[in-house]
């Protein structure tokens, strides 16, 4: 549900803006000069806005494609991410976007063509190198597809560069563009997963784990490559049993041959970001758990983190070969 639509004056006639507006016929947009004049204001309550988010249609002016943080990758030597959107339809309690932005409004950058150009530049500059582009770093890649048409636009572009991988990171089960396309061999549809019992409590508004697994299974049977992202790993009573059940459930339903990569990531936040997130949501169970300051990050203690990582990796190795495992910690 969109509370209000804002449109930057410069793009008010952009065809993508016009087609999005057709989907919100009853909304009267407000025209603004810069998205930042709504989005970047100080003194905003992310939690209230999350209940009543607005959509801001904007155009990105620079920095279309950025290098990923160190230690973030799925096997290729060059890793980039690009964000056509800030913020997400879902409301996961541990989501770092709450600390990254002061507003929960959705900013959608409609100038896809500029992203495309920079992606192509990077590809041609790194010709013959192994490159992965990640989408879904500042949003969910597919959750907003019906409005944005993002995947529908970008997948045909990546199809032309079979040596370059594109990862779509998602929790969505709305897979329309993928279900109606032939699988693209260099596209990895990567799903974030955690035990059902935990997801029910922390992945607000996101599709249930059962639904995600069903969707993965359908995509897999079509031949799409699948990424499994057990990130963040969340601690609690019986966590070993919960994660064992999750892995069993996943591998019972998915053909292992289509699994492209598996990553595990600890629950972690940059210190200042965590301060902001907890101040907005002081009564979150997962954020009130025994998290400690380690260097510049807030996370479980080293002991818990290591134990979870090695236990889960150990279990997963019974299902999948070592070569599929990657670290996606994204160290900051």
């Amino acid at each position: 549900m969109i509370n209000q639509i804002y449109i930057e004056n410069e793009i008010k006639d952009h065809p993508r803006v016009q087609s999005i507006l057709k989907k919100f016929k009853r909304k009267k947009p407000i025209y603004i000069d810069k998205y930042a004049s709504v989005f970047n204001k100080k003194n905003q309550n992310f939690r209230i806005q999350k209940k009543y988010p607005s959509l801001i249609l904007s155009q990105k002016k620079a920095g279309y494609v950025l290098k990923t943080p160190a230690d973030f990758g799925i096997g290729n030597s060059h890793n980039f991410y690009f964000s056509h959107m800030y913020n997400c339809l879902y409301d996961c309690e541990y989501c770092f976007l709450q600390g990254m932005y002061s507003s929960a409004d959705y900013v959608l950058f409609v100038n896809f063509e500029d992203f495309e150009e920079e992606i192509k530049e990077k590809i041609s500059f790194l010709k013959n190198e192994k490159v992965t582009f990640f989408s879904g770093y500042d949003c969910d890649s597919l959750a907003f597809e019906k409005i944005s048409g993002f995947v529908k636009y970008f997948l045909p572009i990546f199809k032309k560069f079979p040596n370059v991988d594109i990862e779509l990171r998602t929790k969505s089960t709305q897979m329309d563009p993928l279900f109606s396309m032939e699988p693209i061999s260099n596209c990895v549809v990567a799903f974030s997963l955690m035990p059902t019992e935990i997801a029910k409590k922390v992945d607000h508004k996101a599709p249930s784990i059962e639904k995600r697994i069903n969707t993965i299974s359908e995509l897999a049977s079509m031949g799409w490559k699948i990424g499994l992202r057990f990130d963040p790993l969340i601690h609690g009573e019986n966590w070993k049993i919960l994660y064992s059940n999750l892995f069993e459930n996943v591998f019972k339903n998915i053909d292992r041959k289509v699994i492209h990569s598996i990553t595990l990531g600890p629950l972690r936040f940059p210190k200042d970001m965590f301060k902001k997130i907890i101040s907005m949501n002081p009564r979150s169970k997962v954020l009130s758990d025994k998290l400690v300051l380690r260097g510049n990050k807030i996370s479980y203690s080293n002991g818990i983190e290591q134990e979870m990582q090695s236990f889960c990796t150990g279990l997963l190795k019974d299902y999948s070969p070592d070569t599929l495992f990657f670290s996606c910690k994204g160290n900051f």
């Binding site: 209230i48 409590k201 009573e237």
Partner: protein, 278 residues
């Protein structure tokens, strides 16, 4: 106070009169810089600031210092405004979704309230009365001053500007009288009541977020905590509330004599707790 709180900022007595009566507010006792009213529950406050941005700004600061719930209240600037002929009819009520000042380029975009049942429009604040009715916006003499000061103090979602068109042509300006203004307001009271419901619900969310943790005052009254220990105590008490909602803390710490032992006890209890997900 967990019901939320509303603070009205209004320029003229004739704009405020109906609200004071309808919402059963009475003047607060003693010498005050501006006329200030509140209801019996002290969860609704109203200040009459006088005309102009400077008065609006001082009025906001004054009410902010008086109302104990000011930083989590829902603040409404309400009153009459002129409007371009095409914007609406006399008596139409508007939510201001874009706010500009006459002499420079800055702009504020107030948070759009959910379930808004009235029209929205842009408003420009001037320092002198205006009689140009060709424009496509509303105009007044206070809103910019009001918004500009309150948005520095509280979160944007708790601020609203609501205006009723009082004049939209040179001819109509002469009919503005105290009684006329009261009549305009009276006709929209029903809407203002529903606006209060939204305001209270948003204010409650902010109050809940900022509320002092349970037992914080009791503990710090009896035991000395340094500034950083107080901050740590707040964090632990919130965590206690989250993880042990049914476990009374007081009996467990009543014999502890100093800050260090209280904090140590809380920390070890919290750290040994394991979250239950099932």
């Amino acid at each position: 106070m967990s019901n939320g709180c509303i603070c009205w900022v209004i320029a003229l007595p004739s704009e405020a009169k109906t609200l004071i009566e309808e919402f059963k507010m009475f003047p607060i006792q003693g010498d005050t810089l501006f006329p200030v009213y509140k209801n019996k529950n002290e969860d609704e406050w109203l200040i009459i600031t006088g005309v102009g941005q400077l008065n609006a700004t001082s009025g906001v600061s004054y009410l902010y210092s008086l109302c104990p719930y000011a930083r989590t209240s829902f603040w409404i600037n309400f009153g009459i405004a002129g409007a371009g002929k095409k914007v609406g009819k006399i008596g139409d009520i508007f939510f201001i979704n874009e706010l500009r000042n006459y002499d420079y380029d800055k702009v504020h975009y107030p948070f759009i309230l959910p379930q808004l049942k009235i029209k929205s429009a842009m408003l420009r604040t001037y320092d002198k009365p205006q009689n140009n009715y060709q424009n496509s916006f509303l105009f007044d003499m206070e809103s910019w001053g009001f918004y500009n000061i309150i948005q520095r103090k509280i979160t944007r979602e708790l601020i609203a500007i609501i205006k009723i068109i009082s004049d939209n042509s040179i001819k109509t300006i002469s009919s503005i009288s105290k009684d006329f203004v009261k009549k305009l307001v009276k006709e929209k009271v029903e809407y203002l009541v529903s606006l209060k419901d939204i305001g209270y619900s948003l204010s409650r969310i902010e109050m809940e977020r900022k509320k002092e943790p349970y037992l914080f005052s009791d503990i710090t009254k009896n035991i000395h905590f340094t500034f950083s220990q107080r901050e740590q105590l707040k964090k632990f008490l919130i965590r206690w509330d989250v993880h042990f909602p049914k476990r009374p803390l007081f009996p467990e710490i009543k014999d502890l004599k100093d800050a260090k032992s209280v904090l140590g006890y809380l920390e070890s209890s919290l750290d040994s707790h394991i979250l239950k997900w099932e």
